[in-house]
């Protein structure tokens, strides 16, 4: 084993262990959430995951973006087959290892496919950069899109442009070295795109070409390992988390909001004339009382926290939110991003004197929601910002009694006369006689 192979192996192992360590940190943050049972209906959940995450069905509500996104996605997944070869070459000092074990035609086909896909990825990323920075598509902006989210979005695209460029550079120099019968450079592969740039290297010495080829090779793999780790601090985490998020997503009719079972217990006790409220007094004392609703990110369930890490900040939710689109403070994307920021802070023991409700998300934002489900419908990976809004409202109302006055009036009307307005039940049939 040569020094370069040892350096490669070491870099690879360090990068992967960093990735695993930081991924575990995120998973332990998600586990800070309350339990919720989403282990039912496995077949429906699997189907949703395949259709929505793998098949990207909901992306196609916006066909142009969906098509470009699909190119990047397919390109990225398939080109990563090449990473297998790069790792083997890196560890064992081989060159184009796969060319030794599969037929020349198949190898040429694979490399040609990678090149065409890489070109499409490059092209799509450039279009995405233009859309974001020159055409300034509205949904990519908004008050929650502060400096970091904007930089993050551009960094990902620049990263991919860089990765694809060094891939072409590597292949272009490689094929010149192949044609000059340089030892170690096995004649293999077909290069429909990079062959177009071969002319750029006319008159380069063999040594320079080898240097460029090697540097590109290293940049390509270091870039991929770097990107893998970058994903964990980025909205790009959706490339992994879209799968569990769609699998564990709500599968009820969107109109249905879950019934709090902790409340059911109390209400049944109140309505049952035979119930002895002190019957379970002993056991109740030993159990810490759970809050009604959510005040902090840890009062949310783990699916809601998983959702927050999966959010790609694409803004489709806010772009259809009636409150957001009429200039109210509420933005479902911000709710998702705030939840992620808050659970990250909790995981890092930061801002321990703060809460999700009040310090990250304001009451005014929460009260603007019409629960219309436009956000949950629009989300390309079935995230549910509305459920977070409802849980925070529940805390405000049931623990803090701080609903807007008109809503408190509505509550007392229902309590006193069984209707949200101040009419007695005795008048419920007056409509029969009225014209």
């Amino acid at each position: 084993m040569q020094l370069s192979n040892i350096i490669f192996l070491l870099t690879f192992v360090i990068a992967i262990s960093f990735f695993v360590k930081n991924l575990n940190k995120i998973i332990s943050n998600i586990k800070l959430g309350k339990d919720i049972n989403r282990s039912d209906n496995k077949d429906i959940r699997l189907k949703n995951m395949f259709r929505v995450a793998l098949g990207q069905s909901k992306m196609f509500d916006r066909p142009i973006a969906a098509f470009m996104h699909l190119l990047i996605y397919v390109g990225f997944v398939i080109i990563n087959i090449e990473v297998i070869e790069i790792i083997i070459d890196g560890v064992f000092g081989t060159h184009r290892f796969l060319a030794h074990v599969i037929s020349p035609n198949l190898y040429s086909f694979l490399i040609a496919t990678f090149e065409i896909l890489a070109f499409l990825v490059l092209f799509s990323c450039l279009i995405f950069l233009i859309r974001r920075n020159i055409f300034k598509i509205k949904r990519f902006f908004g008050k929650e899109m502060t400096k970091w989210p904007k930089t993050d979005a551009n960094l990902i695209l620049i990263f991919e442009v860089f990765l694809m460029s060094v891939f072409f550079l590597m292949n272009a120099t490689d094929q010149i070295l192949q044609s000059k019968n340089v030892s170690h450079y096995l004649v293999a592969g077909s290069f429909p795109i990079s062959s177009l740039f071969v002319g750029l290297f006319d008159g380069f010495s063999i040594e320079t070409l080898i240097l460029i080829e090697r540097v590109s090779w290293w940049f390509h793999i270091l870039g991929i390992l770097g990107f893998l780790n970058y994903v964990l601090i980025s909205k790009h985490l959706h490339i992994f988390f879209a799968f569990p998020s769609t699998y564990y997503a709500n599968i009820n009719k969107p109109g249905k909001i879950d019934n709090l079972s902790s409340v059911t217990k109390e209400v049944k006790l109140m309505l049952d004339p035979n119930a002895d409220p002190f019957a379970n007094a002993d056991s109740v004392e030993n159990v810490p009382t759970a809050l009604f609703g959510a005040r902090d990110a840890t009062d949310l369930n783990w699916v809601q926290l998983l959702n927050s890490y999966s959010c790609t900040e694409c803004g489709r939710c806010s772009s259809v939110c009636p409150a957001n689109q009429t200039g109210k403070l509420l933005s479902p994307r911000k709710v998702m991003m705030d939840t992620r920021d808050r659970i990250e802070d909790i995981g890092n023991n930061k801002n321990e004197d703060k809460f999700l409700l009040g310090d990250y998300i304001s009451n005014e934002e929460l009260w603007a929601c019409t629960t219309c489900n436009a956000c949950t419908d629009a989300c390309p990976i079935n995230l549910d910002p509305m459920s977070i809004i409802i849980d925070l409202r529940r805390y405000l109302v049931m623990e803090k009694s701080s609903a807007p006055t008109e809503l408190n009036n509505m509550f007392s009307n229902i309590e006193n006369n069984g209707a949200p307005w101040q009419f007695p039940a005795a008048d419920r049939l007056k409509w029969i006689e009225e014209q």
């Binding site: 509500d61 009820n252 009719k253 969107p254 109109g255 249905k256 909001i257 019934n259 709090l260 409340v263 059911t264 209400v267 049944k268 309505l271 009604f292 609703g293 259809v320 009636p322 409150a323 689109q325 009429t326 200039g327 109210k328 403070l329 005014e364 009260w367 603007a368 019409t370 629960t371 219309c372 489900n373 436009a374 419908d377 409802i390 409202r393 529940r394 109302v397 049931m398 609903a403 807007p404 008109e406 809503l407 509505m410 509550f411 229902i414 309590e415 069984g418 209707a419 949200p420 307005w421 009419f423 039940a425 008048d427 419920r428 049939l429 007056k430 409509w431 029969i432 009225e434 014209q435």
Partner: protein
């Protein structure tokens, strides 16, 4: 107008009979001046088709939808458990309602609490009546062009898009969709208990934005299937250009043709 024939569940019990279906009127349908007209129109249709229906009358109470969405789960479950007790005590299994909020709550949210009913929205119900030949419509109609606003709790909330459109197709009138319809429909602004409070500060009012969209289609009737949407869009038309279009529940349009 002929007087309406309405029997309460107690009328049925006293006569030793059982209704085919319970009409859940809803609080808006019982008390809101505009919504009461929708209730009357639907009962006119039920009478015309000779449906043996009951209402709960004084025993009906708020479904709890607004309380739940405002975050008052406690009050919602109190309402739900009381309503379920009453419905179950009368062996009610079939319910029809003119309110998508009651529809959603009774159908989706009562089941976990012991209330299992076959719940139908009135647009589904009327659509079935026509399909089964129990209701014949005249084609004599004074409007030119109609558009339909999807209520969130009927459309996105419960995937009911076609029955109201099927009914409109029976009306012999030009139908035009708004730019945002079905899954992409834009809220009227009343859901989530917004009906009962002032909107937060913003640049526009949600109902105005939606009504402008509806008026731009050139329709002289804006149809919907929800008493809250009706109120919001009626207010919208009043604000933008009163008289340019009428806001009607589908039940009212059908009732005009029987």
């Amino acid at each position: 107008m002929d007087s309406l024939k309405v029997k309460t569940i107690n009328d049925f019990i006293n006569a030793g009979e059982k209704p085919e279906i319970l009409f859940w009127v809803g609080s808006a349908g019982s008390f809101d001046e505009r919504a009461k007209k929708i209730t009357r129109a639907f009962v006119k249709i039920l009478n015309k088709a000779n449906i043996n229906f009951a209402v709960l009358g004084e025993q009906e109470s708020s479904s709890g939808d607004a309380a739940k969405r405002a975050g008052n789960e406690f009050l919602f479950q109190m309402q739900a458990l009381m309503n379920i007790e009453i419905l179950n005590s009368y062996d009610i299994t079939n319910i029809v309602t003119t309110c998508p909020h009651s529809y959603n709550t009774l159908k989706n949210e009562y089941s976990d609490l012991g209330g299992n009913y076959k719940v139908t929205h009135h647009t589904e119900f009327i659509s079935d009546l026509i399909k089964h030949g129990k209701l014949n419509l005249t084609t004599d109609f004074n409007y030119n062009k109609i558009t339909y606003h999807d209520p969130c709790y009927l459309g996105r909330g419960n995937d009911i898009y076609e029955p109201p459109r099927d009914l409109i197709a029976n009306l012999n009138i030009d139908f035009v969709e708004m730019p945002r319809y079905k899954r992409k429909s834009f809220c009227c602004g009343a859901g989530g208990a917004q009906m009962f409070k002032e909107a937060e500060n913003g640049k526009f009012e949600i109902n105005i934005v939606r009504t402008e969209e509806a008026l731009k289609t050139g329709a002289d009737v804006i149809a919907t299937g929800c008493p809250f949407c009706n109120t919001m869009i009626t207010d919208g038309v009043k604000n933008i250009s009163e008289g340019q279009a009428q806001v009607k529940d589908i039940a009212e349009l059908i009732a005009e043709c029987i």
